[in-house]
């Protein structure tokens, strides 16, 4: 990247180390503008599908996920992988129905062109059976993987119905981080916010501060999460936390009204507030370009 490209890139900058790109441009084109080093790559975050939900906040509940899949497939440049940050299914007290919904999600996301799919659980998927059905269908609930120089860490703050990571997982995280140099490029995926965004609406992780404390010594950490059905960008020290929109209904801003009641469906603007995110990971300097994309033109 030459100086001019870098300056242009930083002109788009929002929060420390993170570039928030206008949805009108697209992350791929934004990355092209910044030079696109060999190790740069793109991934897509889909969140809070809530497959199985029925209700007025989304009269097209069965049609929204297919539209999102079609929108991802229509991207000019396909991402290296897709991460689903939880609540793949809407909760049900019936274990068989839970598994049926998960099987349906697996089948539907199989229609994505990109075949590298990563999943994490949300409380709707995992909190009533400690993640048992999720593990059967999607694999482990916390794990790591590496991709083109980035170390990805998936944390599970939902299999415990009390929204804790738990000491065993914190120990596992600490051990993993000891293997990473202080300047490692680290991305954390989780469902709930790791910080107290708004505990009055259960938008928190009971021991999330312990995870953040473990991550603090690392200079290049970014967290992507779901759960709150809207964009939110927050810093804990040098660590940026970015929540994603939902694919089922939007929720109000934290504390903006007495209850976290979903926004009503707007027939004049269907799918308003829903969407997914494309993320361009840039190697040097370590930056992430976020592009928010709609489910469908409404």
């Amino acid at each position: 990247m030459n100086d001019l490209d870098r300056r242009q890139f930083l002109q788009l900058a929002g929060l420390g180390g993170v570039v928030l790109v206008s949805a009108a441009t697209g992350a791929a084109r934004a990355a092209d503008a910044m030079g696109g080093a060999a190790e740069d790559f793109w991934f897509v975050q889909l969140s809070d599908l809530h497959w199985g939900f029925e209700g007025p906040p989304n009269p097209d509940a069965k049609g929204t996920l297919p539209k999102a899949i079609a929108a991802v497939n229509a991207l000019d440049r396909q991402p290296d992988f897709v991460i689903f940050t939880g609540d793949l299914t809407h909760t049900t007290d019936d274990p068989r129905e839970r598994r049926k919904r998960m099987a349906e999600v697996k089948s539907m996301v199989g229609e994505l062109k990109v075949k590298t799919l990563r999943f994490i659980a949300g409380e709707h998927d995992a909190s009533l059976d400690n993640g048992k059905a999720f593990i059967e269908n999607f694999g482990e609930t916390h794990y790591t993987f590496d991709h083109k120089g980035v170390h990805f860490i998936v944390l599970d703050n939902v299999s415990d119905p009390g929204a804790s990571l738990g000491q065993a997982q914190l120990d596992w995280l600490a051990a993993d981080l000891r293997t990473q140099p202080a300047d490692a490029r680290i991305v954390v995926f989780t469902h709930r916010p790791l910080f107290d965004l708004y505990p009055q609406w259960d938008w928190a992780t009971r021991d999330g501060a312990k995870a953040v404390e473990l991550l603090m010594p690392h200079a290049n950490v970014t967290v992507f999460y779901g759960h709150i059905h809207q964009e939110n960008h927050h810093m804990t020290g040098h660590i940026a936390h970015h929540s994603a929109k939902s694919l089922i209904f939007a929720l109000p801003a934290p504390g903006s009204q007495p209850k976290r009641t979903p926004f009503a469906w707007d027939a004049d603007h269907p799918y308003q507030g829903l969407g997914f995110r494309e993320i361009a990971a840039h190697r040097s300097p370590v930056e992430y370009a976020l592009t928010e994309l709609p489910v469908a033109k409404g």
């Binding site: 909760t91 007290d93 409380e123 009533l128 119905p161 009390g162 505990p199 009055q200 609406w201 259960d202």
Partner: protein
């Protein structure tokens, strides 16, 4: 963060006799201590039932400065009680009484919620503490 709501007009100086019918309607009201000093009587006890997917009562009214003890029970499944604005939380396990105390050192309306995922109606399971 406090969320101020339009206050209901409730009986201003409800005694024990007045509390029962209000509790039955889902409202607990702070009353005078029936002639006893606060120190002698100890904190006022408010019994709260956490059941699928509602707290009974769902509104707890406390006077500013008053210390109360909540005695929580969950007849069905494990529940949580979290009142973040007063840093009060507890698990509520079936068969046990969970006790928490707090002093209402600020006025307003404050949300409490179940923070243990308990089923399909979990996300609607919340209530308010009203401090006047």
């Amino acid at each position: 963060m406090a969320i101020d709501h339009q206050r209901r007009s409730l009986i201003g100086a409800a005694g024990a006799c007045a509390v029962a019918p209000l509790v039955a309607r889902g409202v607990a009201v702070a009353g005078p201590l029936m002639g006893l000093s606060a120190a002698a009587a100890g904190p006022r006890v408010i019994k709260v039932i956490a059941k699928k997917f509602v707290y009974v009562p769902s509104e707890i009214r406390v006077r500013s400065g008053e210390t109360v003890e909540l005695q929580l029970t969950a007849p069905e499944v494990p529940m949580g009680f979290n009142l973040p604005d007063f840093a009060v939380r507890t698990d509520v396990m079936p068969g046990k009484v969970a006790k928490v105390r707090f002093t209402a050192d600020k006025a307003g309306t404050f949300t409490f919620l179940c923070d243990v995922f308990c089923g399909t109606g979990h996300e609607d399971m919340s209530g308010t503490v009203v401090v006047t």
